[in-house]
Structures are given as structure tokens and as C-alpha cells.
Amino acid sequence: MGRGVPGLEQAYHGLFVIALIFLAVMVVLCLIRAIIGPRVADRIVAVNMMGTMVMVIIGILALMLEEGYLVDICLIYAMISFLAVIVLTKVYMGVYLEKKEEERKNGGD
């Protein structure tokens, strides 16, 4: 980035490094939220947030290393994180409703 202009390459590098460090701290905080989150929804939301921040990290790396194909990985990451949320919510809700149904049946007898 910014080749040919004096000082600009260093400026881009510094900006990207600062942004990456900041995002790494944010991802760690998300992880803490996922661990302490009292409910399942908290954990899923925290994982979703981590996915978003990792997407920004991948975008920054794609520009920093000047490898355009890394952005494809970012796109696929977005799709997979969306799919993970759908699957987790559906599975958890199905399990919960099944358990409720079982309890109701046992209570009725």
C-alpha cells in the first residue's frame, strides 16, 4: 500500500498494525463475554461478534499483505458464521422443546 510516495508506506503499515492490535483486544473481550455469558443467547451473540471482528481483521490483512484473494476467505467466513448461528439456534431450540415435551408427558402420567 502507498508505494512510491515517501512516508506513506510506513503510515499504512502503522495504521494497520494499530487496528489489528485493537481488534485482537476486542476479540479477547468477546471471548470473555462468551465465557461469562449466563445464557446460551449470550454465547451465540459473542461468537457472532467475534466473527464480525475476524472479518475486519481478514480485510485489513488482505490490504496489508496485498493479497486480494484473502477477501474471498472473508466472504466465506461471513457465510459460515451466519450458517453457524442458524444451526446453533435451531438445534438448541429443538432440543429444548423436545425436553419440555418429555417433561410434560411424564408429568401427565
Binding site: 506513506l8 443467547a41 449470550d42 461478534m49 472479518m55 477477501v71 461471513a78 442458524i86 431450540m93
Partner: protein
């Protein structure tokens, strides 16, 4: 030419850092709110706006090429998928909540209509009362 490059760098850096600031605000909301649905709201809003600003900043820095197009596609996909996933998560939370009366009040449509009607009546009666007061002052 160098001046234009510097201006592009500064604009992109501003947008990228603004997106990161929004991520920080989102994190504050996620840690300070007391109830799951509030936290989820903060997270969803922050995610949408934060990734929008950061990736627009990256697009500005990257220039007019295919990388920019792909970054734009990421933004578009996320803006469609984030509300859908928030909706799913909130439905999960409401379905699996064992004690909903502790956190929010469930109200069916008939009850709500009655409440609105009651509020309206109260309002109009208060208004007439005020008018009467003014009349009395005059």
C-alpha cells in the same frame, strides 16, 4: 499526486478508526447491559455499523479494483444476514426463557388495545381538567 494519495489515506484511516470506535462502544454496551436482549441489541447494532464503516474505509484505501468489490459484497451480505441472525437468537431467547415475567411483561393484543383505550381516555380527561383550570383562572 502525492497529496491525493495522502488525502485518500487520511479519509480511509478516519473511517477505519471510526468503525473500530463503534466496535469499542458495542463492547461497552455488551458488558454493561443487564438483560440478554438488551445486550443482543447493542451487539447487533454495533456489528452492522462497525463493519460498515471499517470496510468502507478499507475500500477507500484499496482503490478501484476487485478487492473493493469483494469487500463491498461482504458488507452487503452482512447487512442482510445480521438482522436475520439477531431475529433467530432473540426467538431462541424468548422460547427458552424459564421465567419471562422477571424480565418483561407479556401482553396479548386485546389487553394492549384496552390499555391504549384507557390511556387515551385518561389523557382526554386530563386535558379537559387543564382547560377547566385555565377557565377558572380567567
Amino acid at each position: 499526486m502525492a497529496v491525493i494519495e495522502w488525502i485518500r489515506f487520511l479519509a480511509g484511516a478516519f473511517l477505519l478508526l471510526f468503525g473500530l470506535v463503534i466496535f469499542a462502544i458495542e463492547m461497552v454496551g455488551v458488558f454493561r447491559f443487564k438483560y440478554v436482549l438488551n445486550r443482543m441489541h447493542a451487539a447487533a447494532m454495533g456489528d452492522t455499523l462497525g463493519i460498515g464503516f471499517s470496510l468502507v474505509g478499507l475500500i477507500l484505501m484499496s482503490g478501484w479494483n476487485f478487492t473493493s468489490l469483494k469487500l463491498f459484497l461482504v458488507v452487503v451480505f452482512l447487512w442482510f444476514s445480521s438482522p436475520a441472525s439477531s431475529h433467530l437468537i432473540s426467538r431462541l431467547e424468548v422460547t427458552t426463557d424459564e421465567a419471562p415475567e422477571k424480565h418483561y411483561r407479556v401482553m396479548d393484543l386485546k389487553e394492549l388495545e384496552e390499555k391504549l383505550h384507557r390511556d387515551k381516555q385518561q389523557e382526554t380527561s386530563e386535558e379537559t381538567l387543564c382547560r377547566d383550570d385555565r377557565k377558572g383562572e380567567a
